[in-house]
């Protein structure tokens, strides 16, 4: 274009547009009109309007079209929660969210009704749980990560994370969240990371101050290399862990020389040498002659119910599984692991070696101790366990010093105590707000994953090197469900409440503690009752809650049971261990239960004498015919497995307990699975009379304190 033409064009534009005032005015007003039309036009093409038109068509085809049309409000919908700083326009498109008749799968999204939930969706809106950008009225802006908004919609698979931002206490309605929180605690993530809501326990990994007196340098080398000694074909069954299929100790990627140094350092941790226990020589002399001393030991091991807390790997038809509990470590190869002197000393008094141990202190006779240790040393072994460990020899000074440095550098000191070493501060990053981290704050490194927080977390946890090849985080081996659970729990950590309104919504975590003083308190610590039983909200869930045991069981029965715990329940694998408890200890327990562990709902004055044989006969009819209690309870050998056997109810239970239980079982034991029936007062009296007549002779029969069939509650 030559300059002449350009000048001509400009001249033409001048003339046509601005030639005279009228033209000028006309063009300016046209431009103004057009620019004013931009907003309504944009609004006309807005996605939400398209969805609203689509919704109108969808509901036209429904049988209740009239009613649906009547309730439909067009235009932008808005839920405003000023306390939470939330503005939520999701229902502008999700129009059927509160229409119960639009629940079925034939209704296309985004119009389907929300499944019933405990919170009112119309009041709370959507982004409280689903995240995403509330004010947006375009799909992509509302759901996905954008330049201005980095929090995308949370996939429903991880939605329980949102429950966890307010509900810091256990939440049975959100099992994945609960499991994830348990895993965070179980795997001692708090050893290296700060995680709000999960307290750092007194002991994470075991205290290693005297580990050199317990295991050999070779065993340490093997363990540090790969802390699993048993694995089935799928690598599922491992050293310590039954439900989780994973030892608590993660795998550290240690080089051969690092393994040498660390094993050297640890094998020289023996500040307090073991004093070998001197068995009565006569007992050793008579027992050691016997061929079957280890078999005897195995029988005692079974009778004492060590398997309630410890499991052993059993291989049947080529499949390895762990049988037993997971409160203590798995013991399949313990004989190839620990020094025999250490074993005898440990069994006699675990807390002398490890003050925080949950292992109860049993009362041992020399014969029992000798037999059981022989069993563990000779039968629970694996001659090949250390076959692939190089010859290590005795540790040199250089190795020990290098090992000590590694112990801190690698983070061992974050979970384990040794004398004179303290952990590095803030070894791992603070995770208290990891769940609200923006993508721009994450370093994906070489990981080939989608740019989302969820993908980042999963990649980091399943293989820490994937996002940071030089990172220090050790390797855990989680299955898919556990990985998702841990991810959910991490996503729930969104930092301190952002507003005052939010603060008011937080359901705090309750951590009751129960450590009574006095004679009972000492025995309670000695036998570690709370490892399995609950007392006033504190303790384990493996065995029945004993908070009201004094109202439930008769003194006579308690004394017999503690001396010789038994259960008639045929299906139970885990039972109360045989502590060989002396009579005076049993009496202390019985006294304490009788005075302190009482339920206000139970009438302790109810007298057996007021229940007549006539009542009992009527009760028997009710039990067998009208209510058919035998569906769940056995008397003798006939009946069901769901509840405890009642064959010895008359010796076991107090009349007041039976009566109160029949009135309302959940009032005595919240969450018990016994269904509450609509018994009349006469029926309760008759059934109580009948149950009181059920007695078996012999020591502590009756199943009694047996846990319900699922082992908890």
């Amino acid at each position: 274009m030559n300059p002449q033409n350009v000048r001509g064009l400009i001249g033409w534009v001048r003339r046509v547009f601005f030639g005279d005032p009228a033209r000028r005015f006309a063009w300016v007003s046209l431009l103004l009109t057009l620019s004013l039309a931009v907003a309504p036009t944009k609004d006309f093409f807005r996605q939400s309007r398209q969805y609203q038109r689509q919704y109108s068509k969808v509901i036209e085809r429904r049988p209740d079209a009239r009613a649906l049309r009547g309730r439909m409000v067009s235009g932008i919908h808005q839920i405003w929660l000023p306390d939470l700083g939330i503005l939520d326009r999701c229902t502008t498109c999700h129009l059927g969210i509160a229409e119960p008749t639009l629940a079925d799968a034939s209704v296309p999204q985004p119009f389907r009704a929300h499944p019933p939930i405990p919170h009112d969706a119309e009041k709370w809106g959507c982004v409280v749980c689903h995240r995403g950008q509330g004010p947006a009225t375009e799909v992509a802006e509302a759901h996905e990560t954008t330049v201005a908004w980095e929090q995308p919609i949370l996939p429903v698979h991880f939605i329980q994370a949102s429950c966890g931002t307010c509900h810091l206490d256990d939440l049975p309605q959100a099992p994945q969240l609960d499991q994830g929180r348990q895993l965070l605690a179980r795997f001692d993530c708090t050893g290296c990371h700060k995680i709000a809501g999960i307290d750092r326990p007194a002991m994470l990994g075991p205290d290693l101050t005297d580990i050199g007196t317990k295991v050999s340098r070779e065993w340490l080398y093997k363990w540090l290399k790969e802390p699993r000694t048993i694995a089935d074909a799928n690598g599922n069954v491992t050293v310590d862990g039954i439900d989780f299929g994973e030892p608590r100790m993660p795998t550290f990627r240690l080089s051969d020389s690092e393994l040498q140094d660390l094993s050297a350092y640890l094998s020289t941790r023996n500040a307090h040498p073991i004093r070998p226990y001197h068995f009565d020589p006569r007992i050793v002399a008579s027992l050691s002659k016997r061929q079957d001393v280890a078999d005897q030991g195995e029988a005692r091991f079974r009778q004492m119910f060590c398997s309630t807390c410890h499991s052993l790997a059993v291989t049947r038809a080529g499949e390895t599984s762990l049988i037993g509990g997971d409160i203590g470590p798995e013991l399949t190869k313990i004989g190839s692991k620990v020094n025999p002197d250490w074993l005898a000393a440990w069994l006699r008094n675990p807390q002398e070696y490890l003050p925080h141990s949950q292992m109860p202190r049993y009362e041992w006779s020399d014969a029992d101790l000798y037999e059981v240790t022989r069993y563990m040393e000779t039968k629970l072994t694996d001659p090949d366990l250390l076959a692939d460990v190089p010859k290590l020899g005795s540790p040199t000074k250089t190795e020990i010093e290098a090992g000590q440095r590694l112990f801190v550098d690698k983070g061992c000191a974050s979970c384990h105590v040794t004398e004179g070493l303290s952990p590095q501060e803030d070894f791992g990053p603070d995770l208290s707000a990891i769940g609200s981290r923006n993508i721009s704050q994450l370093d994906f490194g070489p990981a080939k994953v989608q740019p989302t927080l969820i993908a980042y977390l999963k990649s980091k946890i399943s293989n820490p090197l994937s996002v940071n090849p030089s990172g220090r985080m050790p390797q855990y081996h989680l299955d898919q469900a556990s990985l998702d659970a841990v991810t959910t729990a991490l996503l729930s950590l969104t930092g301190p409440p952002s507003t005052r309104g939010m603060e008011k919504l937080i359901v705090a975590r309750q951590n009751p503690e129960f450590h009574p003083a006095g004679e009972f308190g000492k025995l309670y610590e000695r036998y570690k009752c709370y490892a399995c039983h609950k007392f006033n909200g504190f303790g384990g869930t493996l065995a029945p809650d004993l908070s009201y045991e004094g109202s439930r069981a008769t003194r006579q029965w308690l004394l017999q049971f503690m001396e010789n715990p038994q259960t008639l329940r045929p299906t139970l694998v885990l039972r109360m261990p045989q502590f060989n408890m002396p009579e005076r200890d049993a009496a202390v327990f019985a006294d304490y239960f009788e005075t302190a562990m009482q339920s206000p709902a139970v009438d302790a004055t109810l007298d057996r004498k007021q229940f007549t044989p006539t009542m009992a006969a009527a009760g028997k009819q009710l039990y067998e015919k009208k209510y058919q209690c035998q569906a769940c309870h056995t008397i003798g050998s006939a009946g069901g497995y769901v509840g405890p056997s009642l064959g010895n109810a008359g010796n076991w239970l107090t009349p007041g307990w039976i009566e109160a239980w029949l009135r309302n079982p959940q009032a005595l034991v919240p969450g018990t699975i016994e269904p509450r029936q609509a018994f009349t007062a006469d029926e309760i009296q008759a059934l109580t009379a009948y149950l009181l007549t059920l007695k078996q002779s012999g020591p502590a029969n009756g199943a009694a304190a047996a846990p319900s069939a699922r082992g908890t509650k």
């Binding site: 057009l34 093409f45 119960p100 019933p116 698979h157 099992p175 569906a631 769940c632 699975i673």
Partner: protein, 158 residues
Amino acid sequence: MRAGALLFSAALGFAVLAGCARKSALVKFDPLQNAYDTEPDWNDAQRIIPLNYEEAQGKQIFYEQCVWCHADQTPAGPSNRSNVTPAPPLWNDGATLNSLSDAFLEKFTAQGGTAMGKSAMMPAYGQTLTPEEIRAVVAYARAIAVPALRATSRPGQK
């Protein structure tokens, strides 16, 4: 000439604006990524069934209260199903349960066998579980039913 320029600029403006509005589509979701919880088909562990919140709560209640008699395997060991008469229907037994309405199943669970003229070995749960909880257990049965319950043929739907 003038009219042409006018039309041209107007058309251009609308085209730009229309281009800004993306086409709305009915969004499709991966059912498992968008499930609150899941349960493997009892007859075919490979098939994973998505559960919504209500069905997931029903699953939990089922595994606490009902699994003993309405399943052949329980988390704690042997099932009690062989100890009760008549043998209760398995909770995924669509052939039996699909033909019964939600209202009937809820009433049966709440009132128990005796009140419904059936075996007293089915306890009444009306005083132990809330109506919402009972509805959830029934919703769970519907979700895991084999053969599946077709949504449109669901009897007694509220």
